[in-house]
Assembly symmetry: C2
Homo-oligomer: 453 residues x 2
């Protein structure tokens, strides 16, 4: 079987599917399914209902699965004598979007632009994270059904991934039987470069925390009390610096194997492309392998914000009365977020006993399989879809649902990444593109064909 010459006309079908893909992606993007900071579930529920209808129309038996949070969408594309049972996980919820930073007026109105290399760009919040990739899998499941391939594909879309999947275990419990499978495939990760397909073999975990400090009942005049009064912004800045220099959050790290390093080196990672895709003016290092190690295989400490004091324009010379430091860690396989949370609290309280440490968002790191039938099917499918063999890398991000699926279903979780760095996960001007969508539809279809053979 060679690229562009399949017996069942898969490539032709994919080529004809652009109007279908564009219309349904538009429907999904234009439902404002923002989960971080959500106050009600109306928008997310409406989006989930739209997704359910779309899966139903694609031939699935689709339903909403309720839980303590917002519902998931589950659709089964089944065969009477399946030779394989696959669950495909994606998520329907998205990050917030500040329209002032977007080129388009409304991040939730999808804009389509022609592009010389990527054919069509689909621009809007959620297009690449994770609605576009999810739609590729639905198309392929529908195709497999039409082809009567002997495979059961269960599509499962969560709606709380961006807030750490707090209720996803409930969903999996509730549909434990329907979700029984040979393997889970997750399509919520990225290639290191636009030219090199990749398979993720690990996710970083994460831990978020807010450190709060109040040192006075009100702000004070820095001339009157400066020097004697504690300054909570200055103290939390010092605490951030101390945490940054501490070793405790590096504990337990297992360096990547020689094979993994080989994979990294062959990954197509390109320094200039990485900088340009993320619009980074500078990096902590300019050595490509060092960057790959830092983003995939090492823990990080990030300061996301330090509020308190004067946050308007200019300088107001008060001594602040309270401050809040927003931080997170990314953890690599073999590190335990819960244990890290306890270490963080110890570390902070040893330096500043009156700092309140509010730890949240424990996401376990994950180490995925790098061999076996499903892995090989994904590798072959990506080769088929792109003309290039994928490399195995890791993923710097975290997906709370992945360790939950692995634990509760007891099935291996594999990755079939479709997004590119330039697509802008969580960033302004997020987009997906038709070239990657074709890869995704083709690759998922190929995976289903191979696993049903």
């Amino acid at each position: 079987m060679t690229l562009g010459n399949t017996s069942d006309g898969l490539n032709a079908k994919v080529d004809q599917a652009e109007p279908w893909f564009r219309a349904h992606l538009r429907t999904l993007v234009e439902h404002k399914t923002v989960s971080p900071g959500k106050t009600g579930d109306d928008d997310i529920r409406a989006g989930a209902e739209a997704a359910r209808r779309l899966m139903q129309e694609a031939g699935g038996e689709a339903e909403l699965v309720e839980c303590s949070g917002t519902p998931s969408v589950l659709a089964r594309f089944t065969h009477p004598q399946p030779r394989a049972r696959i669950v495909v996980y994606n998520h329907l919820d998205v990050q917030p979007a500040d329209p002032r930073r977007w080129a388009q007026a409304d991040p939730f109105t999808m804009e389509v632009r022609a592009h010389p290399d990527r054919e069509w760009l689909y621009c809007g919040r959620g297009s690449t994270d994770d609605k576009g990739p999810g739609l590729c899998a639905v198309w392929a499941a529908s195709w497999a059904l039409q082809q009567q391939l002997p495979i059961d594909v269960t599509v499962l879309w969560e709606t709380e991934e961006e807030i750490g999947s707090p209720n996803f275990a409930e969903v999996v419990h509730a549909r434990r039987e329907q979700l029984d499978c040979d393997a889970v495939i997750v399509s919520d990760t990225i290639w290191p470069s636009d030219a090199q397909p990749a398979i993720s073999a690990g996710l970083r975990g994460s831990l978020q925390a807010i450190l709060r400090l109040r040192t006075a009942g009100k702000p004070a005049h820095s001339g009157l009390v400066g020097g004697a009064a504690r300054n909570p912004v200055r103290e939390l800045a010092a605490l951030a610096t101390a945490i940054d220099g501490a070793r405790f959050w590096h504990d337990g790290v297992v360096p990547p194997s020689a094979d993994e390093l080989q994979g990294f080196l062959r990954s197509g990672f390109d320094l200039e492309y990485f900088k340009s895709a993320h619009d980074l003016h500078g990096l902590e290092t300019d050595v490509p392998l060092e960057i790959m190690l830092r983003i995939w295989a090492r823990p990080t400490f990030e300061v996301h914000g330090l509020t308190g004091g004067h946050m308007g324009p200019g300088v107001k010379t008060i001594v602040p009365d309270e401050a809040e430091l927003k931080i997170s860690f990314r953890l690599v396989p073999n590190q335990d977020p819960q244990a890290l949370g306890a270490r963080l609290e110890q570390f902070v309280h040893a330096l500043r006993p009156d700092v309140e440490v509010d730890v949240s968002g424990f996401l376990q790191p994950y180490r995925g399989p790098t061999e076996g039938r499903v892995h090989e099917a994904i590798a072959a499918a990506l080769t088929q879809a792109t003309g290039r063999a994928p490399v195995t890398v890791r993923e710097g991000g975290s997906i709370g649902a992945v360790p939950i699926l692995a634990d509760l279903l007891g099935s291996p979780v594999h990755f079939l990444p479709l997004s590119l760095p330039e697509h802008g996960y969580h960033a302004p001007n997020e987009r997906f593109d038709w070239k990657q969508a074709k890869v995704g539809m083709t690759a998922f279809a190929e995976v289903f064909r191979r696993l049903s053979a």
Copy 2:
């Protein structure tokens, strides 16, 4: 001459002046003369015009003095054969006020409350900083005029003190002749305690700066770039910590003399009162003399805010693209703000060459006289007004106009402090009180009488 038994009935006149004082203070407080962040001059000009009318009605020849900023108010209370010529400086502009942090609905509607010890509290922005003290001096100048005391009193109220007096030198130049005097008296400082009158003999200077860092064109996903991307909030937090620990801003400090230390020890400074007046839950040290040294005689480094990244509720796991650190230093006599600005820039650029250093608000520290005829008149007048001899201390705050007056007029600048720590300079629920107002009116009248004798 003993307290409560003056030949000219001064005490009785002061006692009867409460309605006058209350009415005029209300007029001044209710003009919203906020200078920091001002966009136009209408409110300040209206306040200055009201102040001019009030001085005119009090018998002064009053006028607005225009400059490149908002106008000052100048009023002359003269005698044909003056034996002394005194300029009294106050300022009419005030800090902003956030109504959410005030007990009263509107910080610019003066509320009057009875108080068992302080008789009446006059609550509102600007009541103690610096409208109440200014009004005491106007009353006394008017009284001196009525008494035909052979003294010229020139009252000068600036309207840009809270923004560092950027145009005040112009005002002094423009009225250089009318301002020619034997001494300037400034009433914009505080007593260390409510029970102990004090004379300030030094002001700290100050220097403000904004440090800006942009490391990317947009925020990025911390899973995708975390570890490799620079984080401007983390870097500026580290820079704040480095500056805090550096020695360069301590250069040039001259420790207080043994006499000064004696004054500090007799100043009535009370740790618990200090904490309670400023609503401070804790201090950098609990040793009273150490606190006095820190607030009066040592430079400070303060972080007023660190903006950038996610400033809303919760944690958003982005790597910020830009950040802004708002800092200031207080400097003590013999330190030079301009030189410090240059040192700061060097220090920052040695660590982070791409941090933009925007230095502003140079205020010179000031060392005032602690002997001579005017100093003795002030000390005697405060003793007369309070029954207790004042101590000589320093002031932790900065008044840009003071070094300008000293330099341009060549006259010594003295202080006659009237505010208390509990009055809340720059803080929510600022107030002045009738007990201190009586001290102020009596003391200024006594100073004028003594200097005209």
